[in-house]
Symmetry: D3
Subunit: 240 residues, 6 copies
């Protein structure tokens, strides 16, 4: 399980293409190594029943693997008639994380829908989706504030996420699919740009991990996420 | 309903990007004006029950609009748990058309799966999907033959498709969404590269049409499709 | 693939039985050769969300094969929990065609539901359903106008449909199941009683077709549909 | 709740039309007053998993109301994607009752499928379906034995069923819809032609009933069912 | 098929544990021999559409086997995505029976939901559920009246139910699973505390039954149900 | 948000009742404060397709809230026809955790099914389910080894889990529902009896958390889980 030409603490190269879907409030094609996620932010009038009349908004996320995104083609969930357990788990995580980024009091009774469609899945799709979605959300919030459609910029803070794991006994950042599928331990870390945790999910897939390993994984994740924030901030500035 | 800077018989500009999905046998991002369709060809072992033991292969297609592909975000079918009637109708058309392109006797008991995911929907997604899928299928067949995985090139003939319609009384080729949604008559034409029809579907959405109009629409479609075949042939040659 | 005692341009004998379902606004059992379709028109208060408040009505159709209607019993869709792609495609076609027959401005915010249940399927069920439904709709519109429930007769025009195809190289009208399943080309034509086209769907099932064949098929269809309109007009007059 | 011109212990007039669905092993359109049920018997190879290798056959039934069969159009279950609780309950009753009619050891590992589609629902559809299905099954068993496809006549005994109830305090046989919907007590009785009970289902819809009323209802049902058996026997003889 | 130490007309020993689910309006764990059913009564605001504005309430029941309640683990219906026909039939029976116990005019536009979850299934789960639910409903009605939430005690009458059957030619009360699965005839009887029938469902599973046997089964059921009412009355008094 | 009479680092009182479901390989009713989970272990022949022929076994878990288990009755998923996202997420977690407890090589091609049905939900149902399931699995493994049905004791290690969170700024162990629903941060920790982590899932529900808080939460969880292991070991010994 060798990763050539990349340090165990290094992120994969990231490319960001904006505006792939012109009808969305904002959209990004996010590439992190060979993982490619298309993220779109849409804004719809109305909120779920439990928020009606509250004056507050809501945010949800949906996630899917395109059938040809995986090594072996995966079934189209719409044709099967059911989302897999993995999909449900991931889109709940994305929604939960992104709700930490947005001030739901500012946006009124509107719902922000975040679509994350994986074009190519080479590991770390859920964390890539979160980072990309947070950046897309920032761009949408900038636009809505500038257009006067939202009374002020509704972005509370930025969110970013990275995977980290133990592969062949070594702690590594930003696992590729080959590493991910062989990892003893797999951890997804979601943080705010203020440096605190929004979500920490460590799973012993083929083993377990002790406190020391946990802390080393968090150290690597902290560094990686700091780098992601710099990258996103730069992207946002350049286009402002 | 004006179309600026495009003749009523002109195709929208076409761009083709290959290899967007590395795990597929072949994949293309096909842009026709602002319509963008991601097409992937996958090859799976086995055939549906009615072909087991026949020694013949099969081909099916699946189609979806990404939620943010449309002017107003459309619901994710996987979340709803059901494909819409429109989706079902379109993917059956694509499958039927593409089965005319492939020699199912050559590929053995394997199934070719064609995924057509619409990234941006600005009219004519089903015809764009057919033309793109036919080109992708050709590339996959070239590759399979070259690799010796299929005994010979399984492509029988190329297929291409275009929409044509009557908008504000004028017959026009390759309708954009604004035109499409206001069209009196909408027709989809699928042809082989030998110049005969595989499928002709004319629908009076807001009216009906006479024999003369039908023939004029077919004339425009014939020309457009001829142009599409030249374009595809050129693309295939350049990369051969 | 011989059709005994019927000319290649001849319709199968047609029988019409009215009033089979007494609770419907109108109902017909339409037999065309051995194809039998039970058609019922129901009128329900209310319209789909996109028409609420518009003052306009709507029309939809539903289609099903009874399980024992086919040579080999087909599965009951209600038991499977899902309509097949073929069913969805056909009922969309029927609805689209019949909306051309009815003036939706006259009927107020009501929905006309057309149920087409195939008792016996010997080819041409979708076109038989359209012709039968158009006649049943005319009868219902007559009744509603006479009863003063609709302000005037809401029938804009009559619709009729027929299948035509190429079987063993020969162009034939009104295909039976044996012909249909062996046809090289299969075409469904829907027309108004003013002689223009509402829908033309030609499909090369096992081959393709050129312009000349297309025109010959349309000629045969035109004649067959003219005959259907005479038959329906006679039926409607006799009972007026 | 008056029933004109019919004694409280009288059956509604019954009409039987054979061969409505030519592809089925046997089919009947059974009219009992204004209740009309189309019943078809199909024979399929194979049995459910729990009988594989047993050498025994199986029988199941499916039931549906056509949408326009009821006073107010009912929803098409295939479109809803789910059978109603009422449908499930009825088809389980029909299947259970009819399994008493057939010798499952004789038919080998085949499954008899009984389709009961209600064309018009004016009360007593489930009992009409059972009686009609039993007669259709007898005709199919005769045919299979004569053709040598089943080693001997697989019909063990005939089955018939009738509804009986208490309406406005009066015990009545063979309730029409108007009576049925107002009945205090509703009872369905299924018997063999040897005079014993296969199923007795009495329900206090709007009240309860004592032992004396139960016995009076059974007396009426016994007489009605005896008459049904005479009628079915006569029909079967006439066509033998 | 011997039942040791229990007379053919004897009930199994019954144990009642109250308050197992603290959030419900009332809840009972009902043990009848080795059959254990957890019953809970919940009260929800609102009624189904057909009762809106009527001022009347409604009552429905839901039933499930826990997967590990049966000899061979049964599939979890929520995971399958569909309730079995047996479940649907049983919960309709429970709901129908319990609606006879409650005065729906008193409770206003509220819906009583009765959940019957079978912890261990050793025969007679549906009848145990009905008796237990009736007692739980009585406790809830007492509580609602005492708390002034319902204007008066909404319990019209008590309901109880028991199974009876013919096993190895012998008529027996309150069948255990071993008996039930081998029974020639199986009958469920539901009665009011005034001694009349609410529901009588006799089924010849492996045979049929004559009038004399029917009456003997009813005699046994009458006695058993009388005993159940005494037991429930005693339980209710002791805790009042 | 006061918790009376319980230290912020104290577990709620735990009660364990064995053998509630006699047909299961083992079953426990686990009460932790007012949270009650019924856990059953079933063993079925066969494995999922991806393990066929491997000689290895498999383990899966299913989870459900009984409708009346929650403060406001929740919908029965079987009736809705779909498990909620929360259910799917939880049962995947339980399955993943428990697969760490069992040596899948020892049990042959069999599948262990763990059913976790929540009788009463007062917070911490998923962690209670994991601890209870691990104990039940140990009991089942003891039994299978003793009976010689599994060649040796298949339990690799014990697993236990606990929730910990930040409520009103205070770090607390084993949150009750009132605390859970108001928690700023909610964390579930799953550990082996060797003291290492199997799963760590920390979520900032209404806020985020820093490294120091994370470590304090883990400290509390470590202590709580150690206590759970003592309790389970004692239970297992006493009954051995």
């Amino acid at each position: 399980m060798n990763r050539t030409q990349r340090d165990r603490g290094a992120l994969r190269p990231i490319q960001i293409e904006e505006g792939v879907q012109k009808y969305a409030a904002s959209s990004l094609l996010w590439s992190q190594g060979d993982t490619k996620v298309l993220v779109a932010v849409s804004i719809e009038e109305g909120v779920p029943p439990f928020l009606k009349g509250s004056g507050k908004g809501w945010l949800t996320a949906e996630y899917a693997l395109l059938p040809a995104s995986t090594q072996v083609r995966c079934k189209r969930e719409a044709a099967v008639g059911k989302q897999t357990g993995r999909t449900v788990e991931i889109q709940r995580l994305i929604g939960r994380a992104l709700r930490q980024a947005l001030d739901l009091d500012i946006i009124g009774e509107n719902t922000v829908k975040i679509d994350c469609d994986v074009i190519q899945a080479d590991g770390g799709t859920r964390t890539a989706a979160i980072t990309a979605a947070s950046l897309a959300l920032a761009l949408a919030a900038d636009k809505m504030a500038k257009a006067g459609l939202w009374p002020e910029n509704a972005l509370k803070q930025q969110i970013a996420a990275i995977s980290v794991g133990i592969v062949a006994g070594e702690i590594r950042l930003d696992l590729e699919y080959e590493e991910d599928s062989a990892a003893e331990v797999d951890m997804n870390v979601v943080m705010t740009d203020k440096g605190s945790y929004v979500e920490v999910q460590g799973t012993g897939e083929q083993g377990d991990f002790d406190r020391k390993q946990l802390l080393e994984m968090l150290d690597l994740a902290d560094d990686g996420i700091r780098e992601l924030f710099q990258l996103c901030a730069k992207f946002r500035e350049e286009r402002a």
